[in-house]
């Protein structure tokens, strides 16, 4: 919980520093932040939703991406040591946000009845199959999508945290308390710990990317016309 407050503060500070003296010709810090913002806008949102439709949602996905990225990176920062997203609360909140957004947006653009028909009834199947398919699709839209969205993030960060703890506790124990024969094994776990730390940095970026991308894809399903 405290970690999240610190990370939020750090993120706000970073963004504030970047735009405090925003110039037309950006300096080094400003252009780095602008590149990151541009990455979310162009690579994730506009590529998935299309340039016109993406406009109202760029802000939302930018917030989601940077929140997750910053919270994830806290997992490898010394003395913070745990990702803000490795407890269920924050990912659940973000997933519910995405869930409600695509339901509301879908119902607004198509009307509730047509949106439900679009997303629940696949076209071009013989009608007896619909008895099977409609519950499956309903489960997919209302349960599986938001739940997996949150679960993927939590489980990834939790697994990463556990692996780091395992490696460094192993190092500690092997070096200090193990038999002399086993001590060299400590070097191995230490090296693995360093490698996993680097891997965690990669996973932090990847998970932020995947969460945002999948949210955009789900929103795209809601916006799309029926098949």
């Amino acid at each position: 919980m405290f970690v999240r407050l610190i990370v939020t503060g750090a993120l706000l500070l970073l963004l504030w520093l970047a735009v405090r003296k925003a110039k037309l010709v950006p300096g080094r810090g400003q252009s780095a932040v602008e590149m990151a913002l541009d990455f979310v806008r162009v690579q994730i949102v506009e590529q998935t939703l299309g340039k016109e439709r993406a406009k109202p949602f760029v802000g939302m996905f930018t917030v989601i991406f940077f929140t997750i990225l910053a919270m994830n990176l806290a997992g490898v920062v010394p003395f913070l040591n745990i990702a803000g997203t490795s407890r269920m609360g924050l990912p659940a909140l973000l997933a519910i946000w995405v869930f409600i957004t695509y339901l509301v947006v879908g119902s607004r653009t198509h009307g509730v009845g047509r949106y439900l028909k679009n997303s629940l009834v696949p076209s071009g199947v013989p009608w007896p199959m619909l008895i099977l398919l409609i519950p499956i699709e309903a489960l997919q839209v209302f349960v599986i999508r938001p739940v997996t969205l949150a679960l993927r993030l939590v489980a990834n960060m939790m697994a990463g945290h556990i692996m780091l703890v395992l490696c460094f506790v192993g190092t500690h124990t092997l070096f200090l308390y193990a038999d002399a024969v086993l001590k060299p094994l400590g070097a191995l776990t230490f090296a693995a710990g360093i490698a996993i730390t680097l891997f965690e940095v990669f996973v932090a970026g990847l998970q932020a990317f995947i969460f945002t991308l999948l949210s955009a894809v789900y929103l795209n399903f809601a916006l799309d016309d029926g098949h």
Binding site: A155, L206, F209, I210, L213
Partner: protein, 71 residues
């Protein structure tokens, strides 16, 4: 002489849970590689699609992990 292993069978559950997603990941990444080799100009688009697929497959393996904590 007793050859027994003590412990809970559930311990190997997560190991089992990774098999299916592992196969799936392998097939998906391999196919993406092949597609990129055939058509390098759409590599970016293919890579993005691969990551979407990776996210969907990954959840299956992570369900095993979460189930381990729950039960």
């Amino acid at each position: 002489m007793e050859n027994s292993i003590a412990g809970n069978i559930a311990t190997i559950g997560y190991g089992l849970a990774t098999i299916g997603p592992g196969v799936g990941m392998g097939i998906m990444i391999g196919q993406t590689q092949q597609a990129i080799a055939r058509q390098p100009e759409v590599a970016g688009r293919l890579f993005t699609n691969m990551l979407i697929g990776a996210g969907l497959i990954e959840v299956l393996a992570l369900l095993g992990l979460v189930a381990g904590f729950l039960f």
